[in-house]
Symmetry: C2
Subunit: 140 residues, 2 copies
DNA sequence: TAGACTAATGATACCAAGTCTCAATTGCCC
DNA sequence: GGGCAATTGAGACTTGGTATCATTAGTCTA
């Protein structure tokens, strides 16, 4: 869905400079199909500084190209996002692949929740965990 | 709902030793009405070691007395839990108070999700954020 | 009531994830 | 090609949490 050129173009359009480090980070993230950590990217790019990888991934997140994935144990990962609007994830705990879910099942509950609690509800986190089809059949 | 004595009793019943450090940590957590971090507890108990506070809070979490609360930015906090079964939180982003929600709105969606994705769904995270009634009226 | 045995402690080193600083570099526009 | 601001990367720092290990101290039993 994304490729290096299209992201390069979006960076330029938004006034960001095109640098070798930035392109290297973009390229490294595009190679991942599931979720990954900043250190996964750092490990592939020994010539790029730690802070730069963090900065670039933050920038890509702000641009909607990456999104954060919350794992079951509470740690945060990243993944390339193909949906720029609000969505949630279904993460395979075995292979790490991630499905992006198009319907937000929490949306319908928010009005009821606001009424019953008196809160003004502004946001939510929702992530699902399980085992994907291939992982279920591949193991005893 | 909980008090020091009832927790002391539960610790003893489950074969854990009653030590001054443990009781101090329990007491410090009971003083919080909203969510708190390990360092909030550490700050109140300069005589208790860092590792002990972490260990005790982990133990209390396993016993269902504390539960973890995920903040919007992805950081984890703790709170005293009055529900031992599966539940979710509604966190006030202004004052930090936490409502425990009794209905799991995700439960109904899981079957559909499993059918449509082929995943075997084992777990999920769900937290809501907003402003509680007092915080909404107290500020312009 | 005193051992003895083992759980628990706490100092400390370590790890993981992320931010801050700042001098040096380098894209990009003219 | 020059100038300037954005970007870089080294490294120190922060936060949240775990591992190690010698010492201490609950608790059980006699």
């Amino acid at each position: 869905m994304y490729n290096l050129e299209s992201i390069e173009q979006r960076l330029a359009e938004q006034g960001y400079r095109i640098t070798p480090s930035r392109l290297a980070v973009v390229e490294a993230t595009l190679e991942h199909s599931g979720h990954f950590s900043v250190d996964d990217i750092l490990g592939r790019l020994p010539g790029v500084g730690r802070a730069t990888v963090f900065r670039t991934m933050k920038l890509l997140s702000q641009m909607g190209i990456l999104c954060r994935v919350l794992l079951e144990n509470g740690s945060l990962r990243y993944r390339v996002s193909h949906r720029r609007d609000h969505h949630h994830h279904l993460v395979c705990v075995s292979c790490g692949s991630v499905e992006e879910l198009d319907a937000c099942i929490a949306a319908g509950a928010i009005d009821n929740l606001a009424r019953s609690t008196g809160y003004d509800i502004e946001g939510h986190w929702l992530e699902f965990y399980g085992r994907c089809g291939p992982c279920r059949s591949g193991e005893a």
